[in-house]
């Protein structure tokens, strides 16, 4: 019986979140990976992979969250990932929730920018994601977030 490749949906907001996600690419080498991020131009950085974009949203513009929710639901429902990996930010929590509806295992990696406290999204992800990581050893908790390393 042929075994199918593990399907991974890698999710990140724009800017530093996306740059951090790109530095983790060896983790899903050989997997069937799809990406979801904010800027459509970013597709050029991941040639050959399925690509979804979603509207930029943050706690500053809550109204856009409904649109982002639809876009991320569509990405998750289309890809049907086995695993979701994200480096944040807040909209990625939606991807984690939708992923769980479809049975995906989910990994939240809090941004390396959050060096003194976890992001508020990361605090929520401790309960929502299957595994939650910080990139600063001094922020590791019991049992989560765990510290496995950092992008830098």
């Amino acid at each position: 019986m042929a075994t199918r490749r593990v399907r991974v949906l890698a999710v990140a907001s724009g800017g530093g979140h996306w740059v951090q996600l790109l530095r983790l690419r060896p983790a899903w080498a050989g997997c069937d990976v799809a990406y979801a991020t904010v800027h459509p131009d970013a597709a050029a950085q991941v040639p050959g992979a399925r690509f979804f974009s979603f509207k930029d949203a943050s706690r500053k513009n809550k109204a856009s969250f409904a649109i982002v929710a639809l876009q991320l639901f569509r990405a998750v429902a289309t890809v049907r990932p086995d695993v979701i990996v994200t480096t944040g930010s807040a909209p990625a929590l939606l991807a984690i929730v939708f992923g769980r509806l479809f049975g995906a295992r989910t990994l939240w990696i809090d941004s390396i920018a959050n060096s003194e406290v976890m992001s508020s999204s990361g605090l929520r992800a401790r309960k929502l994601a299957h595994q939650c990581l910080t990139q600063w050893p001094e922020l590791a908790g019991d049992p989560v977030p765990e510290y496995w390393g950092a992008v830098l």
Binding site: V6, V8, S13, G14, G15, G16, H17, W18, V19, Q20, R23, L24, R25, P26, A27, W28, A29, C31, V38, H39, D41, A42, A44, Q45, D56, S58, R59, K60, D82, V83, V85, R105, L107, I109, S111, I112, A113, N114, S115, E116, V117, S119, S120, H130, Q131, W148, G149, A150, V151, L152
Partner: protein, 168 residues
């Protein structure tokens, strides 16, 4: 001779940072012989002395950093990683929560961790930014140490184990 900007400044990709864009424009006004380009995002302040652009594709953004003599940016991880990967000195000014420039004050925490590493500089105010741009253009100091394009294998291997179901 290249006509690429000598000073490339970026507010990052998420929020406006008008105080930063204005600081760069004021510096450009005082230094008309220096080519300055500011990427202003969704800001309402449009520079008149410096050239500006709202957003640019990642490949062009990386080229602007590589070609500039000095990269100036908000204290965001995207900027820091881009500067390190390009081996270009970076001068950062942190966004302030009390001025509505970000959702928290975490950019100060970022500076506490990263400013002072080779090639990574910081300025708390527009006045300090002006002084440090002058200083860094006169002497760029030590460039950021080169790094691999990917995170350490110890980290990505563990994520890989999670993906394949052998690590919780």
């Amino acid at each position: 001779m290249s006509d690429a900007p000598e000073v490339f400044a970026s507010v990052g990709s998420m929020f406006a940072f008008d105080r930063f864009a204005r600081a760069l424009d004021d510096w450009a006004a005082a230094h008309p012989a220096t080519r300055v380009l500011v990427q202003i995002g969704s800001g309402t302040y449009e520079p008149t002395h410096a050239a500006f652009v709202r957003m640019m594709p990642p490949a062009l953004y990386q080229r602007r950093i590589a070609e500039a003599r000095l990269f100036v940016a908000h204290a965001g991880m995207g900027s820091i990683i881009a500067a390190i990967q390009a081996g270009k000195p970076l001068l950062m000014m942190p966004r302030r929560y009390d001025l509505g420039e970000h959702t928290t004050d975490h950019q100060f925490a970022t500076l506490a961790k990263f400013a002072g590493r080779d090639g990574l500089h910081s300025a708390a105010s527009a006045a300090e930014l002006h002084i440090k741009i002058d200083a860094l253009l006169a002497d760029g100091g030590v460039a950021p140490a080169p790094i691999a394009p990917f995170a350490a294998p110890e980290f990505t291997d563990r994520i890989r184990a999670f993906i394949h179901g052998s690590e919780g």
